[in-house]
Subunit: 346 residues, 2 copies
DNA sequence: AGCATCGTCCAAACCGGTTTAGTGACCGTC
DNA sequence: GACGGTCACTAAACCGGTTTGGACGATGCT
């Protein structure tokens, strides 16, 4: 016996001998249905294997019961960055509890990204979106405002924003990293930053510079890169080619740091003996390379959970307040050590 | 002037002085509308900024215009694996062209994974799904069959499957790797495999074993692991602790290979001087560590594109045939070299 | 002139839920 | 015994599209 058509609310109503409305009320636990009738209806629904059609409910309620995420990254970077999968996993955990879905859009450049949001909004496929990788003077905030699409930003925008933010602060992690290196005796600490148009990139750079100044040291050289291994290698080459190369390099992510370590090594420069290296993200691999990588542990999955909760609350009309996340923690491993002393060269 | 409500097809019909039906026909380019009327309708739609409501269309057409993907991976692995982001990027590219959306579900264990598919099906949120990470005697195939949910599998299942498959063959890559090592003079080649219940894991292992036998060599030791850095390190430790340790290790992915290289190095074993190492996936980082990692290049983004096209065709009723993808290619780098000769030990 | 045919368009049904207005039945009250 | 108030439930409208059956006028043919 093959079930040809999935049962509808009408089938359930007929089976239970009531009207469609009664079934809807019973299912949604609303008052005005006698207990005995409710039981009969639920039994009939179970018997028929009925589940309310998401499509019909969406049309009726004028809601999508889904939230959206638009990822704009060049394809070669997508795989390297552990952030997204972890963030999405956190988001999912909350969405699953509340029977919502995640609609994903992956695009490869910024122009397409804005179209992505436009399409999600025009189609009414989602009730709200996440805004990641905030940029300087981010145009997407105004766009989402005029699209009337609720949103939650990860980080605090540098422009007026009507949206709640999940406040992640990378700075303490960088500050702690600088302090750690300074305590080891480093006086010449360079930085390989992320792309300049990202807010988190500039925040990390500012923290690096601020912490050095606070320690009474001049900020060393800083090279902007792109979070890729190739970019990290290139930046490292530039820094080591300087007349006065740094004794330590703080990278804006682990992948660049690992590539940087390799470059140093290829040049016969020992890590950490000749050069200290630190990363950011604390990817799983960081603890398992040699030497193990000092890094800053972040919690993208936790951010995802909080961002999802904030967004759903915003959509439901309540909430809409910023949430502060605990600061990232420095994890000290074997890639950092005191700088080589000039008169101790091998 | 704020637009309070998004315009509906009725608004457009009124503005153009025609019926709803006429607007629908005009928009969908169906015959039976005079050219002049069609122009007037399209002009009115443009004027009002009307876009058809995806929700209404979905209900009416009994289609979701979306496809689903359920990811079952422990959270700590999600970030390390470059496969998913790349696969998804490929999928997205095709979906965007055809105005479809991707509904993602991330769960952390297999039981939840099946519920994920059940929920996608029960809600009618998607018209079809991708089936990744095929397992031995995969129960999801029967499940999707009884849920009447069209699917495309990545790889060929080991059980009867009514679904088209995108055939990716890891074996030539592994075979080439073994041949490369044997040509270098290795006689003792070990393997660190993925979890045994994954079909791709066993396929790689079989290829490794087969290629060694073809070369007239006994298969060396094989340890199953979990694709994580920690797992790769552990497996490497086991192999190097053997009375007769291998001179080369083929890892089932790059992350485990990188962790393995670190373990060898910590033990004072030079790579590739004392131990040759190969990975699988050819992640971006592989070319930028030291020594650079010999690996097998795969094309997850290409698989995503083909899988998406195949699934959409299947949903549309045409197609449904398997597609063969080009085999993975070996990329030789610096982590492989001739084995140390016993009488040449330093 | 009468009739069939065609192109154009409209009204209404339909998808499967939610929600509102309204109908009885039953209760207690003065 | 007429009245007001609950309670349980139904009928129908509604969400915004697509699709079907048929109306209507213009045209072609005999």
């Amino acid at each position: 016996m093959v079930r040809q058509r999935r049962p509808t609310i009408t089938d359930v109503a007929r089976a239970a001998g009531v009207s469609k409305g009664a079934v809807s009320f019973a299912l949604n636990g609303r008052p005005g249905v006698a207990e005995e009738t409710r039981r009969r209806i639920l039994a009939a629904a179970k018997e028929l294997g009925w589940t309310p059609s998401h499509r019909a409910r969406a049309l009726s309620a004028s809601r999508a019961f889904a939230v959206g995420l638009v990822l704009a990254r060049p394809p070669e970077l997508l795989g390297a960055d552990p952030f997204f999968p972890a963030f999405i996993a956190g988001v999912e955990r909350v969405l699953a509890e509340r029977n919502q879905a995640l609609v994903l859009q992956v695009v490869t450049n910024q122009r397409a990204e804005e179209d992505g949001y436009r399409r999600l909004a025009a189609d009414g496929r989602v009730d709200g979106v996440f805004l990641l990788d905030l940029r300087v003077a981010d145009p997407r905030i105004a766009l989402l405002g005029q699209l009337r699409l609720p949103a939650v930003t990860l980080g605090r925008p540098d422009v007026a924003s009507p949206f709640p933010a999940v406040l992640v602060d990378d700075r303490p992690g960088i500050t702690a990293t600088v302090r750690h290196l300074v305590e080891l005796g480093h006086r010449h600490v360079a930085h390989v930053a992320g792309p300049e148009h990202f807010l988190h990139g500039t925040a990390r750079r500012d923290a690096w510079e601020g912490a050095l100044r606070a320690a009474g040291l001049p900020p060393g050289p800083c090279v902007s890169s792109d979070f890729s291994a190739a970019g990290g290698a290139r930046a490292t080459g530039q820094l080591l080619d300087l007349a006065d190369p740094p004794s330590a390099i703080i990278y804006a992510n682990d992948v660049m740091a690992m590539a940087g370590m390799a470059v140093a090594r290829e040049r016969g420069l020992d890590v950490p003996g000749g050069l200290s290296v630190t990363g950011f993200d604390d990817t799983e691999l960081a603890a398992h390379i040699s030497p193990s990588l000092t890094s800053v542990r972040t919690d993208p999955s936790g951010w995802g959970r909080v961002a999802a909760r904030t967004l759903l609350d915003l959509i439901d009309g309540d909430g809409g307040v910023d949430v502060e996340m605990p600061p990232a923690q420095l994890v000290i491993r074997a890639s950092t050590a005191p700088p080589p002393t000039p008169h101790q060269s091998p």
